[in-house]
């Protein structure tokens, strides 16, 4: 048996619904249709009344999740594409994110954002939103890059008492497979050494993890050992693990799939530069998408975001220093 990243997300939701009567799912087409990506396939049938189709009203969807959470429920909101969360953003950053701090009442909601680029999806069905949400206090932002994490982190997202932005990567939905679902998991907030190495650290997350791993594999054949750190969650961001890796390698490349200004790669570099300056042998580097909307045509798309190829060239540059 093998299970995809997408199936893992479905299974996690099935388990959450089965284990906890407070859980329900709300989103466009999530009901009998099973969701635009089939992440809720058969769940409406298996859990009658608990998987509910929403109107095209992201603001209301998320606002109502906040209300349901106040009353003790644990809603999972599926936004059809992460890009459309912009019209629900106010409820996320101002209502959900401020509730606990203002009132001492926690807000256990999970917002699933099918994120990231796939070929031919264009400017409005390809975005990664973690920079916007991580900037705002009061949110946890998860960015699983493996099947196992997709499963276990989604379960944790539902269990956590705070609002979680769950950035699941659409490119990984079908591409990524595992043998089976995990029974144990690393705690949220801890980064994973996805591949150990001594020569250079690549810090990354989500789909870029696999581009980085491909580079590390190729370089291993040349005797260069890249350490790849998978952040898993970008907020909280496990600075300690990142710094410990940099302590070993002295060289840092941070790779993210999205727009270059601010955001996670800037945050990682800033943390390492401010807190572990002396551990760096050479200037740290980062690699992001270009500063334009995500292009539709595959030729442009492949050049817009980082790939194994562009990561390889950044790594070689860094190693030459």
């Amino acid at each position: 048996m093998s299970i995809t990243y997408l199936e893992a997300i479905r299974e996690a939701q099935a388990k959450a619904l089965a284990d906890d009567p407070r859980v329900f799912i709300y989103g466009q087409d999530v009901g009998s249709f099973g969701g635009a990506f089939k992440a809720t396939k058969n769940l409406a049938q298996e859990f009658p009344g608990r998987v509910i189709d929403a109107p095209i009203s992201e603001d209301a969807m998320i606002g109502s999740a906040v209300g349901a959470a106040i009353e003790g429920m644990r809603p999972i909101i599926e936004i059809q594409f992460a890009d459309f969360s912009t019209v629900g953003l106010n409820q996320i950053i101002n209502n959900a994110a401020s509730l606990f701090w203002r009132t001492n009442v926690s807000c256990p909601i999970t917002i699933r954002l099918p994120s990231g680029g796939t070929s031919g999806s264009g400017p409005f069905h390809s975005q990664n939103m973690e920079a916007l949400y991580a900037h705002y206090p009061g949110l946890i932002v998860m960015t699983p890059g493996t099947v196992e994490d997709a499963y276990s982190m989604l379960l944790e997202a539902v269990a956590i008492d705070d609002p979680v932005i769950f950035c699941e990567h659409k490119y990984l939905y079908y591409h990524l497979k595992a043998e089976k679902l995990p029974s144990e998991a690393m705690p949220v907030g801890k980064a994973r050494i996805a591949r150990p190495g001594r020569d250079l650290t690549i810090v990354t997350y989500s789909a870029m993890l696999h581009e980085a791993l491909a580079v590390a594999e190729e370089l291993a054949t040349e005797g260069t050992e890249i350490e790849v750190v998978d952040l898993r969650s970008v907020k909280p961001l496990d600075t300690d693990t990142v710094i410990a890796s940099v302590a070993r390698t002295g060289k840092l490349l941070c790779v993210g799939e999205t727009f270059p200004f601010g955001g996670v790669t800037a945050e990682v570099i800033a943390r390492v530069a401010t807190e572990a300056f002396d551990l760096l042998d050479v200037a740290p580097q980062r690699l992001n998408a270009k500063d334009t909307p995500v292009p539709f045509h595959p030729n442009l798309w492949a050049a817009h975001r980082p790939t194994a190829r562009s990561i390889m060239s950044a790594v070689r540059n860094l190693l030459q220093n």
Binding site: D59, A60, S64, A65, I70, P137, D161, P236, L237, A270
Partner: protein, 343 residues
Amino acid sequence: MPQTLVSLEATAKVSSPCEQFTQAFRWMLFGRLLDEKFATLYRGGKIHGGVFLGRGQEAVSVSVGMSLRKGDVFAPLIRDLSGRLAFGEPILDAVRTYFGSSLGPMRGRDGNVHRGRPKEGLVPMISHLGAMIPVVNGMLMARRFQKREGVGATCIGEGGTSTGAFHEALNQAAVEKLPLILVVANNQYAYSTPSSRQFACDDLIDKAIGYGVDGHAVDGTDLTACLKVIGGAVENARNGAGPQLIIAKLLRLCGHGEHDDAHYIDPKLKKSTLGRDCLKVAEEQLVKQNWADSDLIDRWRDEFHQKIEEAVALVQREPGPDPFKENWQAISSTHLVEMHNGI
């Protein structure tokens, strides 16, 4: 600090028209006097930030607060001090939040009208207009899952009806047939903007049919009408009739906030019946019906004055929040709080 809403029980038991009207009037008066106290404190430089009054809207607000029971949900907006009191908000919650006392429900973190007790059904607003309506929807959806009873009411101004949030949430409530009571106080202005620049329908009540919800129009200056119409709508919702949209017409008898002299308000409106002061109208009715005389009303006034002065005196001696004792923690999962330098 009172840990629960205080006066719901009393309210819920009111029954005869005399008792109900008298009780409502008392909450209106209490709210008005407390509002005036806040205005005075503001002018004296004792309050940081804005002060927003419900002057002229007390009849509407109180009718909402009184029609609700323990276990119901109320998400008031900026002009709902009277309704809050009627719903059971302790006066200390209001005073403490205006002063930012660390003993208040918002602990100095949020202020003035941004207060509440979510776990007791009193939802603290965020500023973005319309944003609280879907929150009430969600609380009602939760009750449905949990097989618990209860209705939810929330208030908004006519300006707030122009927000996308208002539309999405009212539509959501209609699709889900939730027991939502949405009370629009059309007080003719949104800050300085007259209704003619806000919407183009003849009457906001015309919106009800387009959402497939019950609509109720009411003269917001007339307490008897408000109690009847709003109370009736709340009962309808309780009996399964789905969302109730109420449009109350009246005039804002104050500035948008206390910093605003409201010079832009059309004098014709002030002179029209819309411009009547609902508190005066109610007082006249009270006297006319022989439910109270001016002596009694004066005694009530004294009673409330005293309560207000006591509360203000108490809170003014209370400590503000201490930034060094503050944990600066925006999430409840302590183990997930970032404690790094840059953060």
